[in-house]
């Protein structure tokens, strides 16, 4: 089929009580069934509306408040899909698997692909030198059941986020894909989206059409918020991205959506309530084959072709989420600025409707190793509103802005072809495509 109906469900996960010691299997299953009761409603609603596939969030069945010991009763042994198993038909074939059985039956009874994130456990012994002391591996695992309830994909999260000490790193990278009548799918989880392995490899080497993305993403305003970052990734990588986020306003977790290379089809961002949200949208099954498929961008072309804008004012440094940026202030209502850090120079041309005295903006550059919750190299050009008019607050979390920009053009001398462009408006709303465009020479610019 040329198109398909995708669904994602932002689930307000029912979290277990914090315990120092593991609960019983029965108590664990009770909590997981409460979450699956909610997921079941979303699956049924999506199926009734014609969805072919539904994605639910990372940790959506049991939450994230665990130690290595206390998560154990929530885990099941998840076999490799090559065993060709429909848990709804043979629930006991691989031992105790009530969660896999219920998810498989949800898919089978509603004739819809169901994507969920649960916990896998594998015994090991001293002959395996890497075997943990407690004699088992525990994996953060995505599973996919097709519309007959068959287990068609199992993915162990490769890039764990630092606080996920309840899980083990898989020994080897798993590149998990599967074919459907509506295109080839890849799958990974949350923090993996920053990676080359598996995120870029699935797209560039295995040529998937769509990516399934369960996530539990806590937003870090203004640059690491779920919706702008994930939609930018889909656009830059040229694939569909079905992103289902957990919903928990205490942890700033919200922001799910269905994104295609050309547009943000639908998204949801809600920091006001504790409600879940189902989203559906039609997607092209094979976006690469579409005439509207975005042309490749040479991200450094424009910036390397112009002279840096001279400026009499001095730069200043500021921290954004543990990364030390080099900033320069936008002092006037219109102008051209350049700020550099190491090999990266960022250029900005802009025009404000008016220069407000109660708001300050800065152009920032970062070129270096990010080291906090994982280690990865970044080159970032960013225009940000500062928290207050005190320039030491540039880079700190912000939520609203009143300064209106009539024109803007942002570019950088990037040394990488993997650049994700994002525009976030006041209230953390995504800047709609009608306001900006990406030129082939690498400018994020307002539409004239």
């Amino acid at each position: 089929t040329d198109t398909f109906i995708a669904a994602v469900y932002e689930h307000a996960v029912i979290l277990p009580n914090k315990t120092e010691t593991p609960v019983s299997k029965e108590e664990a299953l009770l909590l997981m069934n409460k979450n699956m009761d909610v997921l079941e409603k979303a699956v049924k609603l999506a199926a009734r509306q014609g969805a072919h596939i539904i994605v639910t969030p990372e940790d959506g069945v049991y939450g994230w408040v665990f130690t290595r010991e206390t998560i154990y009763p929530y885990l099941e042994d998840i076999p490799h899909p090559e065993v060709n198993w429909i848990p709804c038909k043979e629930p006991q074939r691989f031992g105790y698997a009530p969660v896999q059985e219920r998810l498989s039956c949800l898919a089978k009874h509603n004739s819809i692909y169901v994507v969920a994130n649960i916990g896998d456990k594998k015994p090991c012994n001293a002959s395996d030198l890497q075997c943990p002391p407690d004699g088992r591996y525990q994996y953060n695992t995505n599973v996919v059941f097709d519309s007959e309830g068959r287990l068609v994909a199992r993915y162990h999260k490769y890039n764990l986020y630092a606080p996920e000490t309840q899980f083990d790193f898989p020994k080897d990278l798993e590149l998990v894909t599967f074919g459907t009548p509506f295109g080839k799918f890849g799958i990974f989880t949350c923090f993996d989206i920053f990676s080359y392995d598996p995120a870029v490899v699935l797209v560039e080497k295995l040529q998937v059409d769509s990516v399934l993305f369960p996530t539990a993403w806590g937003n870090l305003l203004p640059l690491l918020s779920a919706v702008p970052f994930h939609s930018a990734w889909a656009r830059a990588m040229g694939v569909n991205l079905l992103a289902a986020n957990a919903h928990n306003t205490t942890n700033h977790m919200t922001g799910s959506g269905i994104y295609s290379p050309e547009a943000v089809n639908v998204y949801h961002y809600d920091m006001e309530t504790e409600s879940g949200q189902l989203m559906l949208s039609e997607l092209k099954s094979r976006p690469r084959n579409e005439p509207t498929y975005p042309a490749p961008v040479d991200w450094g072309a424009y910036a390397k072709g112009i002279r840096p804008f001279s400026s009499e004012q001095s730069d200043f440094s500021g921290m954004f989420y543990f990364d030390r940026f080099t900033f320069t202030e936008l002092k006037r209502s219109a102008g051209n600025y350049t700020v550099c850090q190491k090999d990266l120079c960022c250029h900005l041309t802009y025009k404000m409707s008016e220069k407000r005295t109660d708001e300050s903006y800065a152009l920032g550059a970062f070129d270096g190793l990010h080291t906090v919750e994982g280690q990865y190299y970044l080159q970032i050009c960013a225009l940000v509103k500062c928290q207050t008019t005190d320039l030491s607050t540039c880079g700190k979390p912000i939520g609203s802005a009143f300064t209106k920009f009539e024109e803007f053009s942002l570019s950088g001398t990037f040394g990488t072809s993997y650049v994700f462009p994002q525009l976030t408006l006041s209230g953390s709303q995504l800047g709609p495509e009608r306001y900006y465009e990406i030129s082939r020479d690498g400018r994020l610019k307002s539409r004239s």
Binding site: N159, Y196, L221, I398, F420, G431
Partner: protein, 31 residues
Amino acid sequence: GPPVPVLAMALYGRVFEKDAPRLGQGPVKSE
């Protein structure tokens, strides 16, 4: 389009070739 109230705009680049084989870990669990 009309003037827009910008919170942030960014070109967020990833330099994969400089990365370690796995994104690695920072300090252990932050509550």
